[in-house]
């Protein structure tokens, strides 16, 4: 079986392109520290009161570092009574926030506008991700996974001051 010269060049070019993608992925992980969600814990969605999700809300854990515990349910993000509905979370500029989110009922999504943070909320699983809010502004938390008739109105707000 022979391979035409031009086709061989083409395949080499393809190899280089794909190699670049692999390299970019490695750089993203090692240099920029971008992490994909990974298993944290499994919990029983009907007994959230026995977990950290019993009291959703934002906690300051260090200078400029916060932890936000949020429960998604049809069709709102519950970040505690202080945050209200739809939940409004406020962070000073430069805050690094780690989100712990889970779903109480069906599948939901958790995406923060203009930030690389995008989680599937699978009932029974705790999803965790961090991001840093560098630019002041208002960013929506959007449920981007179909969750029933009110899916399009399920959102929250993050205000960076």
């Amino acid at each position: 079986m022979e391979i035409n010269k031009l086709e061989r060049y083409w395949l080499i070019a393809v190899g280089i392109t794909l190699g670049a993608f692999v390299a970019a992925t490695i750089v993203a992980v090692t240099v920029f520290g971008i992490r994909l969600p990974a298993p944290v814990e499994r919990i029983d969605p009907q007994r959230l009161d026995q977990t950290i999700f019993a009291k959703p809300g934002v906690r300051k854990i260090a200078d400029n570092r916060y932890e936000a515990v949020i429960v998604a349910k049809s069709w709102a993000f519950d970040a505690g009574p202080e945050a209200g509905t739809p939940a409004v979370l406020r962070f000073p500029r430069g805050s690094q926030v780690t989100f712990y989110v889970t779903s109480k009922d069906v599948m939901h999504g958790f995406q923060i506008e203009k930030h690389t943070l995008n989680l599937e909320l699978v009932p029974g699983q705790v999803a965790r991700a961090s991001t840093t809010f560098n630019r002041p502004g208002t960013y929506h938390i959007i449920c981007n996974h179909y969750c029933g008739a009110g899916h399009q109105v399920m959102y929250g707000v993050i205000i960076v001051e």
């Binding site: 992925t25 969600p37 499994r42 599937e120 009110g150 109105v153």
Partner: protein, 572 residues
């Protein structure tokens, strides 16, 4: 289609190389294609109205958009009918035709063929019934993730579709085996080689979703099971969901590799390398499903990394196809007098709807391929996951390359089935170009909307969080919806015209398939399918073993049955 009176001339058995169909073929293949077109009709006409419903400006001026009342019912019907029923019926009908004409023998068992068809047709009927009569309960979308559970009939419809498709696969495998026994030292022609690949991929992939439906969802919908694990279900679904896209794509490749060169007036560049590309699909198209689950919490980053790598590898055979088919097209243009480096794309038969449809599909596929590479890059994925970027991508690939190629096939196959000329060639050309323009704009607008954070599968015209830029791109999407609505009407006008009103006899013609193998150099062991299945098995162990272990959380013991309400999607 009982009211269609078949012309008498078609009683005569067909010779293998003329396009004229024997009565037997006409019924069997015709039944599958007509069922596919019925499914597509329900699916396709939902699409434009979805774009209207999602556009804030459109809804402002036309507050009551007819057709359907519940948006998510429409999205479910659109996805299920287009992506699952239309494609499966079409692929099986087309594969029978290709197999019979290439191997010059009827499929192994007509009875089995009809049993398969009846199972799938009953499945289609049940699915349409449940979608139309129970719009709220059945709005689980074509991915039907639990814990949202649809009425049992939804799943039974799917099971029947899968059963029928397995019977059809078996029929094609057995036909091939018979041929192989009579021609032990010959390479099977490329078209059938590719179809065997396709049905192998299909049979392996459907195992995942079959387990999910039969052991998790169907019992849950019947109230037998009170628990289900959504993370495991998603994993089983995407075990199937990604190879599914190759199941759609490979029949289009069959047309591009073994029919288009001749239709365009050229010659295939390299048959052996085409075989290499198809073999890569057997090995690499299944162990990549986790790239749909980059944002899932239950799977480790390293498992995701492994499947990212495999995903990049499975793009190689598509790049090979681009070169091979591109070279065939260049050859065709040179035969027609193209001289310079860049004039060959223009010197194609752009005035022949069969060719124009496939070329247009390829143009969309170039965009789709690159948007796909972006999706597959784990980190970039986090910006576009579940945004309308994703439908932008698969309307370039599935709605563009695949659908347009199927439509191109339809423009010669439907006249052959009906025994009459295509109703209107001009209408067909207009349909192809409006589709190309409409889908190009759709892809651009939905893609941009996605980058602005607009989610997919959402009635966004009601969303309080919509940004001005997001709203603008959704309005542009609605414009593309108008163009695509016109295109869909042109398509169905031509189909109905060809079936019922065309008076001109079908022009005499040859089957456009390359029925002999021009390949003298690829090794015969390419057809030792056990080798490829073995390699696939090893890769599956490497790629999916850890994933399943993580999802079931083996460290903490087997706790799959922890939880789950078997409820319908919550309703107001």
């Amino acid at each position: 289609m009982a009211s269609v009176t078949l012309p008498q001339t078609f009683e005569a058995p067909a010779t293998p190389t003329t396009l004229r169909l024997a009565r037997r073929e006409q019924l069997m293949i015709g039944a599958h294609i007509i069922a596919a077109l019925i499914a597509l009709m329900f699916g396709i006409f939902m699409g434009p109205f979805q774009t209207f419903h999602r556009s804030p400006t459109f809804v402002q001026y036309f507050p009551t958009i007819p057709i359907f009342t519940f948006y998510y019912q429409a999205v479910t019907a659109h996805g299920v009918m287009n992506a699952l029923f239309f494609t499966t019926f079409f692929i099986i009908g087309f594969s029978y035709f290709v197999t019979e004409r290439t191997l010059q023998r009827p499929i192994k068992s007509a009875a089995m063929g009809w049993a398969a068809f009846v199972a799938m047709a009953v499945g289609l009927g049940m699915m349409l019934f449940v979608l139309l009569t129970m719009p709220q309960q059945s709005a689980v979308l074509y991915t039907f993730y639990p814990p949202t559970i649809a009425p049992a009939m939804f799943y039974i419809g799917l099971v029947l579709l899968a059963l029928g498709s397995w019977l059809a696969s078996a029929n094609i495998f057995l036909t091939y085996r018979d041929w192989k026994r009579e021609h032990p030292n010959e390479r099977v022609p490329l078209a059938v080689f590719a179809l065997i690949v396709n049905f192998i991929v299909w049979c392996v992939a459907t195992i995942g979703v079959a387990i999910e439906i039969v052991f998790m969802l169907l019992p849950a919908s019947l109230g037998i099971l009170k628990v289900t694990d959504p993370q495991l279900a998603r994993t089983l679904f995407w075990f199937f969901g990604h190879p599914l896209v190759y199941f759609w794509l490979l029949p289009a490749y069959v047309s591009w590799y073994t029919m288009l060169p001749r239709q365009a007036g050229g010659k295939l560049f390299s048959e052996p390398l085409a075989r290499v590309a198809f073999i890569m699909f057997v090995v690499f198209s299944v162990p990549v499903g986790v790239h749909h689950q980059f944002s899932d919490p239950g799977i480790s980053a390293s498992s995701k990394g492994v499947q990212t790598l495999l995903t990049l590898i499975v793009s190689i055979p598509s790049f090979m196809t681009a070169f091979n088919v591109g070279a065939a097209l260049e050859n065709a243009a040179r035969n027609r007098g193209a001289k310079t480096l860049f004039d060959w794309p223009f010197k194609q038969k752009w005035n022949d709807p069969v060719v124009a449809a496939q070329l247009s599909g390829m143009l969309l596929f170039i965009a789709g391929g690159f948007s796909g590479l972006i999706n597959a890059s784990a980190q970039l994925n986090a910006t576009i996951h579940n945004t309308s970027w994703v439908p932008a991508h698969f309307h370039q690939t599935l709605g563009g390359a695949v659908t347009l190629t199927y439509i191109g096939i339809l423009y010669w196959l439907l006249p052959a089935i009906r025994g009459r000329a295509l109703f209107s060639k001009k209408m067909a050309l207009a349909q192809v170009f409006t589709w190309l323009i409409g889908m190009t704009l759709f892809g651009l607008a939905m893609g941009e909307a996605g980058l602005q954070g607009v989610p997919r599968r959402a009635l966004t015209s009601q969303s309080p969080y919509l940004s001005p830029a997001g709203a603008f791109w959704l309005d542009v999407t609605a414009v593309s919806g108008i163009i695509l609505l016109i295109s869909s009407i042109l398509l169905y006008a031509n189909i109905i015209g060809t079936l019922f009103f065309s008076r001109r006899p079908m022009p005499e013609g040859e089957v456009p398939i390359e029925t002999v193998s021009g390949d003298r150099t690829s090794p015969l062991w390419f057809e030792r399918w056990g080798i490829w299945l073995g390699l696939l098995g090893i890769l599956l162990l490497i790629a999916y073993g850890p994933v399943i272990a993580e999802v079931l959380d083996f460290q903490l013991g087997w706790n799959i049955l922890r939880y789950m309400p078997t409820s319908n999607a919550p309703m107001p």
